[in-house]
């Protein structure tokens, strides 16, 4: 089997474009939230789940994640989706940015799934849904050790 070379660029599959654009722009949005979040956390120091004054010291002292979270107002880790009820706090807003970025492939894959379905590539509909389901279950904590 040889590779073939031509001069005309075929139209890019819509699934490519949909996935690429969704992932790119949500990643940018997540980066902006993660830039503003820490600033809010430091400006409104008293309005955080975790006091930033002690967080970095504990991390650099080699404390485990659970020990670091033990210093928070909740006395322990409040759960990965703690931003839902703490969106107006600096670290809650930052966690929202992280969660947004860490789940970015899910909407991208759902968009690509629709595009694959429209082009009748049903094998890739199944594969996209499988990867999307893995992200969903991973993010929801359904499959977890805790």
């Amino acid at each position: 089997m040889e590779r073939t070379e031509t001069l005309r660029m075929p139209a890019m599959p819509i699934s490519q474009i949909v996935y690429g654009e969704i992932v790119y722009w949500i990643t940018i949005a997540a980066a902006i939230v993660c830039t503003v979040g820490p600033a809010l956390a430091l400006i409104f120091m008293d309005s955080n789940v975790m006091d930033p004054s002690f967080t970095f010291g504990a991390i650099f002292a080699g404390k485990s994640a659970s020990d670091v979270w033990a210093l928070s107002q909740t006395g322990g880790f409040p759960g990965g989706h703690f931003y839902v009820s703490n969106l107006l706090t600096g670290d809650g807003f930052t966690q929202f940015g992280l969660a947004l970025g860490c789940g970015v492939a899910l909407p991208g894959l759902l968009g690509a799934t629709i595009a694959f379905a429209k082009s009748k590539s049903f094998g890739f509909v199944v594969l996209s849904l499988w990867v999307a389901a893995l992200i969903f279950f991973s993010a929801s904590g359904v499959v977890s050790m805790h």
Partner: protein, 374 residues
């Protein structure tokens, strides 16, 4: 005028918005910190701001180096943090996964638009990579909670060995083929209809390429995912050669797919860390931002730098970090005292001497090639 116009066109538009947000945010932090006192036993706002800005700049530098050297940033971040800081290994590996995935995520858009990355191949491999990476992340949390200090030491030593192996692999050059030859396409690969022609700028033509052994590639990528999820390393160094040598994906396409795949697959691996609290928001956020900005700007600003030159420096960093990891691991185990300054300095200067020698040889080769071309 044209320069101003360019600022309002992608990707400079979003880069400008991000840089502006960054400047305003840090200006606000430093303004508010004037006159603010640190609580007893805690850090001042100024100190936290400086650390946070330092993290961002370091992440940006890692992203730029990683882009030029053609690897994921996690390969640099995780070992360096484990070797030279006392930060808990689970926190480092969790943040390492953020570093590994975000330069890939931000490069997804341009790669998809140009057709250099192939979504079908990426989704196919992510289906198996994700399973391995998720299992690896779960195993990392399990090891951290059950093995304590011994686990910390073992992780550092294992990573030191992996890093030294990678350094040797990079020195040997790694057998990669720009255009792999395909003699026979198996039935499974054919049925997937994976092909996607792309425009190859170096020859000014649109190239369609055959692929093969998709099943075997999926199997191997599952193992790669396991390693990546466990160590928070990213896995571009493995995903590219596996696609290239096993599946016969052209080198450039394999490298682009690797970024897309890491972004997609690590969206699965990162959540066990996020849900167990191993990702501390204020600690991880500057690393994320640095990767995104560095990923976009790195390739643009430093396109003129010779990749081979950066690669030599990278190998030097890898060997020194590998030494640091093994030494720290032995120390955590209680098998060796902390490394004395003279030994650290001896190893550092030995590696530096090798880097200088290798760079000089590289420059001579480049000059000879240029002379031959002239």
């Amino acid at each position: 005028m044209e320069a101003i116009r360019r600022l309002f066109r992608p990707p400079m538009l979003e880069v400008s918005v991000m840089v502006l947000t960054l400047i305003v945010s840090y200006a606000a932090i430093f303004l508010i910190s004037i006159g603010a006192e640190a609580p007893a036993g805690g850090m001042s706002t100024m100190q936290i701001g400086v650390i946070s800005l330092g993290f961002f700049l370091l992440s940006f530098a890692i992203a730029v180096i990683a882009v030029i050297a053609g690897i994921g940033g996690g390969v640099l971040f995780t070992p360096i943090m484990l070797a030279f800081t006392s930060v808990d290994s689970l926190i480092v590996r969790a943040t390492g996964l953020i570093v590994a995935m975000f330069s890939g995520l931000v490069s997804t858009g341009p790669f998809m638009r140009s057709g250099l990355a192939n979504l079908r191949v990426s989704v196919l491999l992510a289906a198996s990579y994700g399973v391995g990476a998720f299992a690896g992340a779960m195993a990392a949390i399990k090891v951290a909670s059950s093995l304590g200090a011994a686990g910390e030491g073992a992780v550092r030593m294992a990573l030191g060995a992996i890093l030294a192996g990678l350094g040797v692999y990079f020195i040997m050059g790694g057998k990669k083929l720009e255009w792999p030859e395909v003699k026979n396409v198996d039935g499974f690969t054919k049925s997937l209809n994976l092909g996607l022609p792309f425009y190859e700028r170096s020859i000014g033509k649109v190239v369609d390429y055959p692929m093969t052994r998709a099943g075997w590639t999926m199997l191997i990528i599952t193992g790669v995912g396991l390693l990546s999820g466990f160590f928070g390393l990213g896995a571009g160094w493995a995903i590219v050669p596996v696609q290239n040598l096993v599946m016969a994906v052209p080198l450039k396409v394999a490298a682009a797919n690797s970024g897309v795949l890491l972004g997609m697959g690590d969206c699965i691996a990162v959540w066990p860390y996020l849900l167990s609290g191993a990702i501390i928001p204020l600690f991880a956020a500057p690393w994320l931002v640095g990767q995104v900005l560095g990923g976009i700007l790195g390739a643009k600003l430093l396109a003129g730098i010779k990749a081979g030159f950066v690669r030599i420096i990278l190998i030097g960093i890898m060997f020194f970090t590998s030494f640091g990891l093994v030494a720290k691991g032995l120390n955590v185990f209680g098998a060796a005292p902390p490394v004395p300054f003279w030994l650290n300095a001896t190893v550092f200067f030995s590696i530096l001497a090798w880097v200088i020698f290798a760079v000089r040889r590289f420059n001579k080769q480049e000059a000879a090639t240029a002379a031959a071309a002239a």
